[in-house]
């Protein structure tokens, strides 16, 4: 895969200009980074902040000359990014990993279930589904902890008009008018014509993924029609450091996106 700036040494990051910053919540911003090259949703970059280290961040949007990186402020590296990004560029390495194959979801019914920051890696998938001719057969269930934790509000509003979007929060203050409840609650009632041939994409925190898959299986989904994306500590992104290995699989090389028939065999 070609990147805009190719380094002979894959450990050395390249500078990328910050084109725009969208603030979703106090802790979660999307950084639009200048990047020309082949990228797929679900792939990730290592964001490199000298003095603080590197953090793997999944691609949340792709344009002709940019990629979006939605970063949650939860650690040393991301903290520094939030403090000092203004007028700056960031150092990046990547993209790494396999990413989603959008073509798999063109035909028939498709359900994307995403929780919290898990919406980032599938944002590109939902976006693609929303522009398909058969968008009425496409479903997205997006769950956030509370109304304040919602990401991609503009996208959510747009998707609502194009495909079947179910937006839910785990809990909400009194008087909140939207759905309240875990994403799993909405799977049983999806008005699917043929769950046995429908495709699903599941991304989120491990417990959410586990129970979502159980619900999908109950609904009649086949394991081979379910795609998952796993989060691990990817230190190098190159298959060398060993932090993301599970069994004989390196998440950074073979994943993070897996068909569930393969994904379910991965045991930490």
């Amino acid at each position: 895969m070609n990147t805009a700036v190719t380094n002979a040494n894959p450990y050395i990051p390249f500078p990328s200009e910050i084109l725009d910053v969208v603030k979703h919540t106090q802790k979660e911003y999307t950084f639009r980074m200048k990047f020309e090259g082949e990228v797929r949703p679900g792939q990730f970059f290592e964001v490199s902040v000298p003095k603080f280290g590197e953090a793997p961040i999944s691609v949340s949007g792709i344009g002709k000359d940019y990629v979006d990186l939605t970063i949650r402020r939860v650690g040393r590296v991301t903290n520094e990014v939030f403090e000092h990004y203004k007028g700056q560029s960031l150092l990046l390495r990547g993209p790494y990993g396999n990413g989603f194959d959008i073509d798999l979801y063109k035909e028939g019914e498709t359900v994307v279930v995403a929780g919290g920051t898990g919406v980032s890696p599938v944002r590109g998938v939902i976006e693609a589904l929303s522009t398909m001719d058969n968008a009425k057969d496409k479903y997205a269930i997006a769950g956030f902890r509370s109304p304040d934790d919602m990401l991609f509000r503009d996208d959510l509003a747009r998707w609502k008009d194009r495909l079947n979007l179910i937006l839910t929060v785990d809990r909400a203050p009194e008087g909140y008018e939207g759905n309240v409840g875990l994403v799993t609650k909405f799977i049983a009632d999806l008005p699917l014509r043929d769950p046995s041939s429908a495709k699903a994409v599941v991304v989120g925190p491990p417990p959410m993924m586990k129970f979502t898959i159980i619900e999908l299986q109950k609904k009649g989904f086949k394991d081979e029609n379910i795609t998952v994306s796993y989060e691990r500590k990817m230190c190098c992104g190159l298959g060398k450091c060993g932090h993301c290995r599970v069994n004989s699989t390196y998440i950074c090389l073979d994943g993070p996106v897996f068909n569930y028939t393969e994904g379910k065999l991965l045991m930490d």
Partner: protein, 353 residues
């Protein structure tokens, strides 16, 4: 083809080799062991034959020639990055057969895993030449024969065996690389037909399962290690095939705008190895970590690269402060695997998930 040298001839040989190569060899450090008044055999660069420890098994492996405990990758100066320099003189590494087999496993990860060749590994690798130390007998905890790493056919420039003969020590060298003949001639070597010694049986034996069924991962056998293992990571650090590292940024206190990025050896047994942002952690118990490590060595690496990672050097058993025997675990995994397979066959070969 080979040579025989006396003690003084061996000294001469190392002296002349040292003029062209840096020599990385096991060295016995007196009193530097983990307990009071105990010794340790480490790898270090040596200048003379007398420093090279040929008798004992080294407590640590040769891998630091390729993967130093801490390695500076590059320097940062504001927007500039500069790769760290490297001493570009060729290196002669003295090692035993198990370790030379371990080299292939290191190559699997750093040269063959994924599409990128690790440039920091490669540049060190290209400088190395290997001297095979013969093993006339197995050491405590060695099980190289069962792992198929007792015999080495190629990949070394010459071998070395030492033996007491009367009052003297005699050194025998098998020299497959004829370009080294001049060193032996210069040191007064006598031509002889020499074959390096190697181990054909070990006291410690392991039964390595052909395949480890998924059910064994959930077997209760691992729970014992949640109780016994203290997660110190020594087994990883002495292992010739453990390759994991963590990136680490360091900045200079006198100038906060200048610093370096390093990689340091990491251990899958130590807390924090899997931590993700926000506090997520995988394999929280020591038993799970033991399973992760052991199955990597005797099953998972093989699935990816065709050969088991473990070479049977037994250093992990030598070093464990809790006296956990890894070779014993392999045998337990074998028994547990057999049990699952037999149960499966009894069921009429029905697939278990």
């Amino acid at each position: 083809m080979g040579y025989v040298l006396t003690q003084s001839g061996f000294s001469e040989l190392v002296k002349s080799l040292e003029s062209q190569y840096r020599i990385f060899a096991p060295v016995l450090k007196k009193g530097a062991g983990r307990h009071l008044d105990t010794d340790v055999v480490l790898y270090d660069f040596v200048k003379s034959a007398e420093e090279i420890e040929l008798e004992h098994k080294s407590d640590y492996a040769f891998k630091e020639a390729l993967l130093p405990m801490s390695e500076t990758l590059f320097f940062f100066t504001e927007q500039q990055t500069k790769e760290a320099d490297l001493d570009e003189r060729p290196v002669l590494v003295f090692l035993r057969s198990c370790d030379l087999h371990a080299l292939k496993r290191l190559d699997d990860i750093y040269l063959r895993n994924g599409k990128e060749i690790d440039p920091f590994y490669k540049r060190r690798r290209d400088l190395l030449h290997f001297v095979l130390i013969g093993c006339p007998h197995a050491f405590e905890n060695c099980f190289c024969v069962d792992m198929g790493s007792n015999l080495t056919k190629d990949g070394y420039v010459f071998s070395i065996d030492s033996a007491e003969e009367g009052e003297d020590t005699v050194y025998r060298f098998e020299v497959p690389d004829a370009s080294f003949n001049t060193f032996f001639e210069g040191a007064g070597g006598t031509k002889a037909d020499v074959q390096h010694t190697y181990v054909t049986e070990t006291k410690t034996r392991v039964r390595v399962p052909e395949e480890v069924p998924q059910a064994v991962m959930k077997d209760a056998l691992w729970d014992e290690y949640t109780q016994r293992c203290i997660g110190c990571g020594r087994c990883n650090f002495v292992c010739p095939t453990c390759t994991c590292f963590t990136m680490q940024d360091v900045y200079y206190t006198d100038n906060g705008r200048v610093g370096e990025r390093r990689r340091v050896e990491a251990s899958c047994m130590v807390d924090g190895f899997t931590n993700v942002a926000g506090g997520g952690q995988y394999r929280k118990t020591k038993g799970e970590r033991m399973r992760f490590k052991v199955l990597h060595k005797i099953s998972d690496h093989k699935k990816r690269f065709g050969e088991n990672m473990c070479v049977g050097c037994g250093r992990c058993d030598d070093v464990c402060p809790e006296y956990i025997s890894y070779s014993h675990i392999i045998n337990k995994v074998y028994d547990a695997s057999e049990k699952v397979l037999q149960a499966k066959n009894a069921e009429g070969g029905e697939e278990n998930e």
